[in-house]
């Protein structure tokens, strides 16, 4: 069965989407995610543009798809973000991975979320977004 989401040839062995895919066109992504994907963007905009100015449903879809079938996808409910200023007054974006509540998370779960958080941060840092990305985890 074909792996859902971005074409399998675009995946690294660890399931991550490499940096070059920031150039993937929104039009291409809509073929996978449907016409409603990233509604504020044109077909000719890139994934990097979306990550720089994300909307929550699109970011959640991208995030869950990246880890499709894996632990992170199973424990992640959604991805949220909000814009603001950080403690020193610099523009920032807080990206929140909302996960299932777990009082005694196994190490594998923490490590998987850690890797996912850093991959997400790297995407945003390498996008056209000018806000500093802070990644946090919420549970519910």
């Amino acid at each position: 069965m074909k792996e859902p989401g971005l074409d399998t040839r675009h995946r690294e062995k660890n399931g991550e989407i490499s940096r070059k895919h920031g150039q993937t066109l929104v039009g291409t992504l809509r073929k996978h995610y449907g016409a409603a994907f990233a509604p504020h963007f044109k077909d000719t905009d890139t994934l990097s543009d979306v990550l720089g100015n994300p909307d929550e449903p699109s970011l959640t879809k991208l995030f869950k798809d990246r880890y499709a079938g894996g632990l992170v996808s199973k424990i992640t409910k959604r991805v949220e973000f909000r814009f603001g200023e950080d403690s020193d007054g610099s523009p920032a974006v807080w990206i929140t991975i909302v996960a299932n509540a777990d009082l005694h998370p196994p190490e594998a779960k923490i490590e998987a979320l850690r890797r996912a958080a850093e991959a997400l941060r790297t995407d945003v840092l390498n996008s056209e977004n000018k806000r500093w990305p802070y990644v946090q985890i919420k549970t519910e």
Partner: protein, 177 residues
Amino acid sequence: MTFPRDLLNQAALLANKEPARPKQASLRRAVSTAYYALFHLIIEDSANTLAPSSPAGLRRVIERAFQHGQMKTACKKFLEADIARQKGHQTALPAGVESIITFPLNPDLTNVLIAFVDLQEARHKADYDLSDQWNRLDVLDKILMARQAFAAWSNVRRTPNAAVLMSALLFSKEWHR
């Protein structure tokens, strides 16, 4: 390096202090302690690199000169410069500083820079912002981030780029004059 390592271990103890219902006080102190573990690890190495061992006590005086906000800004500028260079853009670093940094930055150094910025912001939230509740998963993630930064730092602390960074943490504000 005993003190920073002890702080890191203490952060983990605090995060797991109440097995059933973790108290916000424990979780918040755990986040704060994880940040201070990394902070002390870096300023101790920086003082040892930047100041001679004699007279005794000089390095401790140097350590007191490091400022949290300035360190965070310096880390951000390094990372932003690395990203700008990868995109073929100009960096915001003074030319003299940029010319002595080797790009792209080692991923271990990048990990330390990101962890420092993230943990400092988390510490600020943990210590001053009571509007949000912390959960154990997030706190353990921050502690793991600090632990990985410790390991990454041990790989790069003797490199020329780390030497520039350690100088920048203390002096970068003056470099733009």
